[in-house]
Symmetry: C2
Subunit: 746 residues, 2 copies
Amino acid sequence: MSRLVFILMVFSCMAEALLAQQHPSLILTREGVAAMRAEQAGPLFERAVAEAVQQVEAAMQQGIQVPLPKDMAGGYTHEQHKRNYRSMLLAGSLYQIQGKKEYADFVKAMLLEYARIFPSLTLHPAEKSYARGKLFWQCLNDANWLVYTAQAYDAVYEYLSAAERRQLETQLFRPYADFLSVENPRFFNRIHNHSTWGNAAVGMIAIVMRDEELLQRALYGLPLRQRASGETDNDGGYIYEKGQSRAGFLAQIDYAFSPDGYYTEGPYYQRYAMTPFMLFAQALDHYRPELNIFAYRDSLLIRAVYALLQQTDEAGVFFPINDAQKGMSFMASSVITAVNIAYGQTQDPQLVDIARQQGTVSLDQNGFALASALQQGQLRPFRRSSVMLRDGADGSQGALAIMRASNTRTTISVPFKCTAQGLGHGHYDKLAYCLYDGATEVLQDYGAARWVNIDQKAGGRYLPENNSWAKQSLAHNTLVVDGRSHFGGQYELASQHHSEIRSYDFGQERLQFVSAREVHAYEGLELYRSLVLWQPPQLYKPILIDLLQVVGEGTHQFDLPFHHAGQLLDMNVAYQTAEPPEVMGEAHGYQHVYAEARAAVDSPLLRFNWIKDQQFYTLTALAEAGDQAILARIGAHDPHFNLRRDAFLIHRKPAAKNPVFLTILEPHGSYDPVSEIPTGPFSQVAGLERLHIDRDYAVFSIRTSGGSQWTFMLYTGPEASTVRHQLSINGNQYEWEGRIAVQSVP
Amino acid sequence: MSRLVFILMVFSCMAEALLAQQHPSLILTREGVAAMRAEQAGPLFERAVAEAVQQVEAAMQQGIQVPLPKDMAGGYTHEQHKRNYRSMLLAGSLYQIQGKKEYADFVKAMLLEYARIFPSLTLHPAEKSYARGKLFWQCLNDANWLVYTAQAYDAVYEYLSAAERRQLETQLFRPYADFLSVENPRFFNRIHNHSTWGNAAVGMIAIVMRDEELLQRALYGLPLRQRASGETDNDGGYIYEKGQSRAGFLAQIDYAFSPDGYYTEGPYYQRYAMTPFMLFAQALDHYRPELNIFAYRDSLLIRAVYALLQQTDEAGVFFPINDAQKGMSFMASSVITAVNIAYGQTQDPQLVDIARQQGTVSLDQNGFALASALQQGQLRPFRRSSVMLRDGADGSQGALAIMRASNTRTTISVPFKCTAQGLGHGHYDKLAYCLYDGATEVLQDYGAARWVNIDQKAGGRYLPENNSWAKQSLAHNTLVVDGRSHFGGQYELASQHHSEIRSYDFGQERLQFVSAREVHAYEGLELYRSLVLWQPPQLYKPILIDLLQVVGEGTHQFDLPFHHAGQLLDMNVAYQTAEPPEVMGEAHGYQHVYAEARAAVDSPLLRFNWIKDQQFYTLTALAEAGDQAILARIGAHDPHFNLRRDAFLIHRKPAAKNPVFLTILEPHGSYDPVSEIPTGPFSQVAGLERLHIDRDYAVFSIRTSGGSQWTFMLYTGPEASTVRHQLSINGNQYEWEGRIAVQSVP
């Protein structure tokens, strides 16, 4: 932005500010409140109001409790200050919606109590954070407090006397905003979700107070003085990334998300990170509409909401990419906030369907509109589709590719991780994928080794096994070479690189593919992986074809794990169980794994048949002499029982040069424990033959037990998608146009 | 029954038979069909008809396929003959309900085809059964075929010409009935569910054919010539039990169920065994009302239906007592049949609630009436309650005691097994219990080691591990002495004994108890176990208090396992994990168990805190010097991965004399992975103190973290329940009236 434009904007904003001397004007607006009071609310909104009333009445019963800061997360003072900002937010909103003064009085009394104690507060006594807070052990929580309390203050602003406002602003809000910014540049000036909370907190209280200086600070950051030093925060992320040239809220939007709205840490953290973006943006849209913040960067924030929703299974649970506690879903309050604000901008009837599934709405004009739309049936089923979500601020750092195919029985989803490292919460799993059959994890990602907020497990923090197991390559469905994780599990090295998507085609739902490459994870080795999601009418459900090849120097041990977490029914090669099971190694995750059984794969195909969630699956893999199958289980060297004892299969090539793994993952039936009838318990894949595979071309054939046979022809190289390809293999001619073709063999 | 009464009955029956020359008259009746055609059906019945039409139309598309017998269960000819009887039954019923001749023609064509091949059939080629069949590998399946086909024949009887009927009866039905009875007395004359199917098959075809000789055979059996020989059937049960003096259907009712309707093999097999009882009884009720079969033995069959329904968790899944595949529930078609027939007798609105949950009804006048009642809202919620289900034909062989207590959060259910052995499907687990929190298994029974009909797992049959693990005492929540199962795991010995209920009181829902004794499981040792289910308002959910004591000679090793199958969060004593884990023993189930960690319990209390299904539980047990805690897991010596790798805790007293185990099982909270907020993650039991415990008296106290304290006073001896008890312990006087009392300590 040029200096001149900036100055013009400041003037225009100041004029605007003079005109807009009315509150609420942050998330709620005067016009919005008037409409909510005048019109009939939909049932979802009425229920949200009723629940808020219940919570606020309960808090009012407890009385004003503003303890001096003392405890860590989970302790009394921490949780009480969290309860307080939630209660103030709800009470303020209810005061606006229902007009009851008791609610405004409650907010006022609590704010004044905070203003009374704030000037005496030094830093929080716990010395655990890189950026210690005042009310909380880390500035992050203080910023949360201010984001919500700013809304409460906005709601009761006009209820307060000028003297009361002056007292609050001079003794509490302005000093608090300064504390979170100028006094903590390490917290405020990063490109990081912590700083986004800080920017939003400062910016939102600025808008309520009409404090233009603070608002500019929130939008554009403090002057950048710091250099990348290699210093890290509590999660292992860098305080300052190399090359950072800007700070503040607009820089966060520029750097935090890729052009497709992907957040580099993954959806578990995106869910959390979205909140300050959406709330501050909503406030800016009301207060400074000429910024046109929701249109900023090609409507980036809105697209990030959709990108987040796409990263869910059929039950709305987020794909557990990088550090992620399993079970987190779009039911989270942060996602409800984001969806409500996005609906205010888009009026997209698919978001009405999401709100229906979420079962609640925000206590503001967006939630009011959503609930009304639902009541009036203005809903379109939310459609998950195949999407390519590029990673990196400019979209150049690989991508998360999500393929989906549906039939009448299910939707198969395959998130394929070809991204950058994902900052401090990243796992070392290049070219890893998960496989979902509806909401069943057919091939799982372990997720994080952590029970968030469960005190018995190391205070609810990340467990040691998060580093030693969950982050390691072996904990994912990806290749492990010579028993070492990608990049040797070294964060600094891993942070410099990303995978690449070579080509993809999601155009035909019955035949989709994506092909990717990783050339940095192992020095001297190039990893190529192509996934094909295919639904011929003859098969029960769509199947996944997984082609992985390595090109490079030397002979290595190659382990390809498949994390099925189910119950083995049958394997086609003889295996010997170990009594007791052997620990598989000493590092890179192997120290946490038992080999329960081993098999020499003395067959051209390895078939592994299992049951999970009463559904039948079979893995069929090409095998060659010397291959081994290892039936593995997590749980070794786990002195505090922090790990789940999940089972997985390792397809091992103990000493191979430039190996090829060609594997079919096939859902083929189900079991009903009530009728006790199995439907389709056996694989329909009878044959799998490799005809030609190199870096750019793959030709192979699949034969089913029903007698059908198909030849797959795949081109993954750099040529345009319309080129015509010709291969001669064993005297046969193969010809096709474009990236991928399948021919039925008569 | 006296000879004279018998002769009079025969005459009366013959007169009746002359009058009743009309069909259908077996399950369907002319009057019932007329009413179904005249009145509007409820939606549930309409849907059942629509589904039947779909199935029959599909079968008719396939054409008449009556293959020569060849395959075992799961194979083509076996499954096709099963499909055939189902199709004929549905087609016959639809013909009656809708009047479409195509359906009658389909039944007729298939019956004639069976009549054509039947005379040429020798025994089924598979030689695996103690009683080989004709169409199937075992007579049991042939009897199934005839029970259903008799109904189809009844439905089309009047559609057929006299010549067709003669052909069917002389070439198919009468010879088949003779085959299943006089040619197979080992199958037909047992007191066993196999024979009940045989009796019903012969009796039902007899009614359709008006064949009084066959009907008498079905009701009263063949002359008893065989003696108990110790010979067993394919499941290990005796062909002839000692002391059997009668056979036939009425004897089955007399011997198969206890006076409370408990079936000695447990609910999994009762579900299956009920079908021939209920179907044949329904037919007898129509054809021979003067038998008053549903009133027989104090309405035993009806009470058996309710006993079956009571043996379910809150999701309707049967308690997995003895051999039982988990997941079997009251949704099974056999239970639907039983509930529909029982409703025809009782018009109980609670059964309408069950039908609502089952979501379908029978294609007959009972199902029609149920569907109409549901449509008209004639429903009362089905109420599970605490029940004492005595075992043994005369109720003298112990009991299954089920305690239940509910609050607003859940229903806690505790089935406590103090029964007889349960025939060939019995497990060696005297005084074992399971604990349910709603439908969550807090302490599980392993169930059977079997995947019914899943061919990959030993053809779907019982697995070797069913004997070596699932039946062993260690696989249950009961005491194991000196590493040996109850009765040494010897069926013959175990079959001679049963446990005893000493006393119980289910009168107050907030404080229930049951006390039982087992004096035969271990020679020279008497086992006493009392369970108290208690709900004080201060606690989150009802808690279970488990008091187990042993009286007898010598010093022994005592292992008390708790099968939590969850994830350890915390234990109050230091434990050392074993790397790799050690196999615990060589026999009696120990050979299948790994000790993953061990602890010396150097504290007066052992506390074990875990999470399962996102809910928090804690076990708090009295401990004394020398006690050990073993964190165990199933899975050793399992060469085909037939066992689930479930975790359990063993409280071990390695060398004790007359030990006492006093344990509290406490559900105390839950976790929400979306809000990531744990509610009540910690036990509220702060103290547990033993004041006095002997064979007849127990006085102990519990203290909560909230500061409450209670003294429990329990009398389990033989005195009347109204007696006043007095004990002086350490100079304190304890006085109470009746079996149990709890006093709050000020």
